[in-house]
């Protein structure tokens, strides 16, 4: 008995040693910096530098400034639109790849759907700006068939298109993964019991894949709301998003405390979205 206990203590001690490097790294380069930001958000930028005022001045400024609130609203609207659009576009594609096409083409179809993922991230937004420009490819083609021109460049529409492109690829992958994990006999059973295709989908397929979709949607939300590059390149200064506002604090005012406060607000939005998703998953189960 005592020998067994000592083996277990030894195993535990060894496990601590193994986990220590990752835990220390996370503490030093993630948790402490996060704490630094939380602290910094309570300071103020003054003429001479940073001053430790220990108050909520930056948060009060945020609430008192309609343009800042607007940036948060813009970001939320863009992110929610993108999340919904991407799920709606990706689900059918993942379905077709998983269910409708011959098995030997499946991997190829999936690989094709995510290949543009490997263009550099900054370049992808830039490429969309070339497509959507007033004299860009899209309007060139539309003009050739006597349509257009569409004025999509430098607008929220451009930002949403750029984001949706990226997240449709991401979600196709994750939804495909949850579709193929579904046991096939469940659906066969439903069909045997006389359920139509639509009923099977609604009663069996959708509930089984929904958790996977929700996780993907949350990831989309978290990545999208925190992204600076896409709105900066595609928004054309017409649709200020929260990350752009954060970069403005650094780039224009050297105001790290305000940038920190805005980052905390950004993380708050992500946390709320996470709690919402977690709660919803619990209810569904």
């Amino acid at each position: 008995m005592s020998q067994r206990a000592s083996i277990e203590t030894r195993a535990t001690r060894r496990a601590w040693w193994l986990a220590a490097p990752a835990l220390i790294w996370t503490l030093a380069f993630f948790i402490l910096p996060f704490g630094t930001m939380a602290v910094l958000s309570l300071w103020q930028r003054t003429d001479v530098g940073l001053e430790a005022t220990w108050d909520l001045g930056n948060y009060a400024n945020f609430l008192a400034n309609p343009a800042y609130i607007q940036a948060l609203t813009n970001s939320l609207e863009i992110t929610v639109t993108v999340t919904i659009l991407s799920v709606l576009l990706a689900y059918p594609l993942a379905w077709i790849i998983a269910e409708e096409i011959p098995e030997r083409f499946r991997r190829l179809a999936l690989a094709l759907a995510v290949i543009p993922f490997w263009t550099s991230y900054v370049v992808r937004s830039y490429a969309w700006s070339l497509v959507l420009a007033k004299s860009g490819v899209l309007n060139d083609w539309l003009g050739a068939v006597g349509l257009g021109p569409l004025d999509l460049a430098n607008s929220r529409a451009a930002t949403v298109i750029g984001f949706t492109h990226f997240f449709t690829m991401l979600l196709t992958l994750s939804i495909y993964a949850s579709l193929v994990q579904m046991p096939p006999n469940l659906r066969r059973a439903a069909a045997d019991l006389g359920a139509g295709a639509f009923a099977t989908f609604r009663l069996i397929v959708l509930p089984l894949t929904l958790p996977g979709v929700m996780v993907g949607a949350f990831l989309t939300f978290a990545l999208c709301i925190g992204d600076y590059v896409t709105p900066q390149i595609l928004g054309g200064g017409n649709d200020l998003a929260l990350p752009q506002l954060i970069m403005l604090q650094i780039g224009r005012r050297a105001d790290l405390p305000m940038a920190a406060a805005l980052s905390i607000i950004l993380m708050l939005a992500v946390t709320l979205a996470y709690l919402g998703m977690a709660r919803w998953m619990k209810v569904v189960r």
């Binding site: 496990a15 910096p33 290949i115 449709t168």
Partner: protein, 256 residues
């Protein structure tokens, strides 16, 4: 029949959407003119040549490779060790610890970058490729940890126990027993980390000084004028990564 048509149509539309920007990017990298927008003025390789002759871009490419490989190796080591720890022993507060390790996944890179910027500044550390790599280890460790944890199961634990009973030391157990057993997962985690680090912009932008990574260099290229050169470097990077992925896929397929 209509069902197949509908499916085919949907696929064509979506693949069109997915490939549109890449196609335009590559096409206009061959533009024989000053601006990468229609009309297409003829085929030219001059922008590709300019990219290959651009010392800053090539240096950035080298920096990116260095940062990606170094940070991924560290992240993989940290993630692998931690995953083994969680798989072999029941640690107190395991949920909280696991949560802490995974947390960086859901935090915006911008926020991680800002936090590191502020902390490095307080610590008196100058910005460099090292600080960028440290940031990339933060974002990649949870990824490596999750992939390794998913691959480690009962089989590994009992194989390790057997090896230990036979007198193997901890290091040898790890390198000669555990690691080879989950090699595919290790490779996948490493490659995924390399991809993420290779493509990461905002952390590298905030934490670098003169030696920058490729996305940061492309960012400043974008700000030095509308130029098919940006298309050219984008296309080259895309082709190289796509080929790498494809060959990786094929090797895996053959092994199966």
């Amino acid at each position: 029949m209509t069902r197949y048509l509908a499916c085919a149509l949907y696929m064509i539309l979506l693949y069109g959407f997915i490939f549109l920007p890449v196609g335009v990017l590559v096409l206009f990298s061959f533009q024989d003119g000053r601006f990468p927008i229609p009309p297409f003025q003829g085929f030219s390789l001059r922008w590709h040549q300019e990219v290959l002759g651009d010392g800053d871009l090539m240096a950035a490419l080298g920096n990116s490779l260095l940062v990606a490989v170094a940070s991924s190796l560290v992240a993989l080591t940290l993630g692998f060790l931690a995953a083994r720890a969680f798989a072999t022993a029941r640690l107190p507060g395991v949920t909280a610890l696991r949560g802490a390790l995974m947390a960086p996944l859901s935090v915006s890179y911008l926020v991680i970058g800002l936090g590191l910027l502020a902390s490095f500044n307080l610590m008196g550390l100058s910005k460099s490729l090292w600080t960028v790599a440290a940031g990339h280890v933060v974002i990649n460790t949870p990824l490596c940890f999750a992939i390794c944890a998913a691959a480690l199961g009962e089989a590994q634990v009992s194989a390790e126990r057997a090896a230990r009973d036979l007198g193997a030391g901890e290091f040898r157990v790890m390198t000669l027993v555990t690691a080879p057993m989950i090699l595919p997962a290790l490779i996948a985690a490493f490659l995924l980390s390399v991809t993420f680090s290779w493509d990461e912009f905002i952390i590298a932008f905030l934490l670098s000084r003169f030696d920058v990574t490729l996305p940061v260099e492309i960012w400043s290229l974008l700000r030095s004028g509308l130029n098919p050169k940006t298309n050219a470097i984008g296309s080259l990077v895309f082709l190289v990564s796509a080929l790498a992925i494809l060959s990786f896929e094929l090797t895996l397929a053959r092994r199966k």
